[in-house]
Symmetry: none
Subunit: 133 residues, 4 copies
């Protein structure tokens, strides 16, 4: 079984930071491994302190359910099939954009989570991280 090394995580984070700098919005960026456990986290200078936890939870959520938190969010609105999932797992489930799985050979082996801007910004920074994986 493959997973995410610290070197992988640093490469993902570096690419995500570059994108955040381009956007001009400081971000929290977190990477978890195949077990959902944190490998690395950075908070760029000036990024929201409330987003430390959110970036880590977005990464965990994306690995925990092998899905982007954006897509999970769509299915977790009132009346949708997963409404209520945000109350499970001790509050670790994030249901808004910014978390994306990291895959190798078609298997999810980790995830990146980004928090610090709008949902669209967070998701695009996470995508930049995924592209570097």
């Amino acid at each position: 079984m493959s997973t995410v090394t610290l070197e992988d995580a640093r490469r993902v984070i570096a690419a995500a930071e570059k994108k955040a700098d381009e956007i001009g919005q400081p971000m929290n960026i977190a990477v978890v491994d195949s077990g959902g456990n944190l490998v690395a986290h950075v908070r760029q200078d000036g990024a929201w302190i409330g987003s430390v936890n959110i970036s880590i939870n977005k990464a965990w959520t994306s690995k925990a359910f092998d899905i982007s938190t954006k897509d999970l969010g769509d299915n977790s609105q009132p009346g949708q099939q997963f409404f209520g999932i945000q109350n499970t797992n001790g509050g670790k489930v994030a249901i808004f954009a910014g978390g994306i799985p990291l895959s190798r050979d078609g298997v999810v082996v980790g995830a990146v989570g980004v928090s610090g801007g709008s949902g669209e910004q967070d998701h695009s920074v996470a995508e930049a991280g995924v592209a570097a994986f």
Copy 2:
């Protein structure tokens, strides 16, 4: 007082696993007894790690309120009579499909909880478990 033995739980889980295999979606399956306490849990290879907690909570919820989590969910949407119930009991209340009570002689004596796919898939796998009880 009647309850669910480990042998009962294994029969329920085996039937649920068989259904999950047919559907081709790996699942977490949990069974609780008349006290709502876990009797047995399995995570099939490749099933979501975020669903460990959810399967157990769905089983707990179905016994705790003697209702399927699908039906409880219908009553827990915004504007409905139980909206907010998902925030009670320390986060153990699941309000989406996949938990079904286990009854004997018309009395609920336990429950099965399934998590790992769509709401419809989870519910059908739980039904297969119930049928074996």
Copy 3:
């Protein structure tokens, strides 16, 4: 990276159950994988309901720190180097006997946790599980 499959977990649990039956003390037995996530759990008929959580936490702890909970406990007494570790990780750290790592080729790839009797009984039942891995 190797981990623990459901088939592995069932073999470990079966051996642990056999030992518990010999001792005549019903047990909770849990197995986690390389990420510390639950693979399977059983509560034998008559085993303590308060031990559901403890068996799972012992397994998690043994994988989280690659050590038996018995040995971790020796280092976590007042005045010892890890005193206070039991208050970390949201209360998931168990510092009394019953959790043992599962290793393959010298690498810890999971763990078994047992709770339901004395520390000595729990540890011996866990050892029986490890021997079957």
Copy 4:
């Protein structure tokens, strides 16, 4: 107000990693700023997953009380003046070696927390990080 930048945190972490490599014990290393909020975290390959939380909490604790967790631990044993402090702050207080304040011009502006080995190893790796600050 002076604090710890991401660049500072990376310099501290790099020095700590170097020391951990010399010791041959993979570590979790975390740095917090003057508000006690996480700036950066890394888990070296093979480091204990249970130490993610502990490294962050050690850093938080050292800034929260402007003291090393080793010294705080000495005062938090049974019978000592701070016994019980490990149960406060939602479980974030670590009372064993590995957390050390980061100071500038005699003022504590952040902290580093290390977890992954013995108390002595964790403390020495944290000291290496402090020296680079």
